[in-house]
Symmetry: C2
Subunit: 285 residues, 2 copies
């Protein structure tokens, strides 16, 4: 397509999430069946690009590394996206980090300490299921930190991401955007299925009661931390098939932009083949 | 089947790997196409069992955790197995650890220090791509440690695995067994494909020259560390499709043996649904 999806979805200027239809499908012309086919069709290229990245890291031929940040309200489908998109990639290359409630040890450090430790290494595709953004989202809504501290955190996040980019990293930040109706429907589905009870917590409804506060916190966080080095993408996530296709697509676009070649051999293949043949005739095997 | 595959493949008594046909397919009656279909057919049950384990860990309703150890000569297909079997599971539940050459920090500790740190937590399915066994394999063949130290390591490994099992763990140790001819064929394939050069290192042929020493080191390690708590399985890996099917199958058998139920709700679903409905009518959404 002429315009990359990641450009189309990039958040710029003041953000009003109420103006984004959670069930819209920007950049995709088709229905659910088309979307599922399109996702499957992306598999081979995504796997190939990821393997080139991994190979480059192993061979030391590239300094590149990629971080996919997934944020979104409860039931927005962070886990589902990881399952659908991650399933297209070799498990070796995907390093998943889930950020839950900080431990006592983590709280004894700056909020970015645990994040720094989980940043992908050269050659890795790291995926953050929640992230350092929780500290300016729930941190703001629940007043877990002062307003000044939240301000400091926006800047610290920008600095961290810039440093990651400056050392060869590429950041893809996706806000999986749903609305209250989508969440109600998904919570109802969880509450009606005993195999999904473990995903539910009564506190989820307490957080839901603060929907508008969270939405506003997301808008501010996106406005404050969407930088040229690490822009935010707002991905409508009311339709799971679109969400999965969109995240896979922006990831492919990002990986393509790295223009990764396969590492060159630091040995002579013909010599090695001759060694293999010679050794075999010597032992008679 | 009447006898579980993991029982069929369990190593007992003195081990002679030269007597195991790397291209045999014990417990499977069929060809490559059948094997690929059979693997795909295992996907839903494997995914379901893994999700029950993960859910139980999250809900705190089970102390169970599972460790899959993959060992084998170069080109035996540890990575390929992880791709094929891991691809059937949600990425969230699979925690992959690859053990390469120890770092200076790791060498400054006992050999099990880095392993201990990567043991799966409750609810996790951990996969070791190489493992603590390297320290009694290359450790023995290359005389990186004294004979007494190697002896100590066998015992230390048994103790570590027993402790893991005693705290709710289940260990599945698979030796992916190939012979010299299979390796030669696979090395030739790597050397003929520029997209595979990164997997090759001239030192691989130096290790290959020590084939019989490594084979003997594997035999001794398996004999010394195949315990009732953590038995070794010898998986013929000369046929990739059989190897993948066999590892998926023994993993399913192991997970089934845990008899994992979905966690019970620690809330009343009807009450929560009523809260959701009430909150919605109050806000008019």
């Amino acid at each position: 397509m002429a315009t990359e999806l990641r450009t189309l979805l990039t958040a710029t200027g003041p953000i009003d999430l109420t103006s984004v239809d959670a069930r819209s499908t920007p950049g995709f012309d088709g229905d659910k069946a088309d979307g599922k086919s399109a996702l499957a069709a992306l598999g081979p290229e995504l796997a190939d690009l990821q393997e080139r990245l991994y190979a480059g890291g192993r061979a030391g031929s590239t300094p590149r590394k990629v971080l996919l940040v997934l944020q979104g309200m409860d039931t927005s489908g962070k886990g589902g996206t990881i399952g659908a998109v991650g399933g297209l990639i070799e498990p070796q290359g995907l390093v998943l980090s889930s950020f839950g409630k900080p431990t006592a040890e983590e709280l004894a450090h700056d909020f970015l300490w645990r994040v720094e430790a989980r940043l992908p290494e050269v050659g890795q595709l790291g995926v953050f299921d929640r992230s350092h953004y929780e500290d300016v989202l729930i941190g703001r809504v629940r007043a877990l930190a002062s307003a000044e501290e939240i301000e400091r955190r926006y800047r610290a996040i920008i600095d961290l991401e810039q440093r990651f980019v400056d050392s060869g990293g590429l950041v893809v930040k996706c806000l999986l955007h749903i609305d209250r109706d989508v969440q109600a429907k998904r919570l109802r589905a969880r509450l009606g299925d005993p195999t999904k009870f473990w995903k539910y917590n009564p506190a989820d409804l307490d957080e839901r009661a603060l929907w508008d506060d969270y939405r506003r916190a997301y808008e501010i966080a996106v406005e404050r931390t969407s930088t040229p080095a690490a822009p935010w993408l707002v991905v409508p996530a009311g339709r799971k098939w679109y969400r999965n296709w969109a995240v896979a697509t922006v990831l492919i676009e990002a990986l393509r932009s790295l223009e990764l070649d396969w590492p060159r051999a630091d040995f002579d293949p013909a010599t090695e083949l001759a060694r293999l043949d010679g050794e075999e005739s010597a032992t008679g095997s």
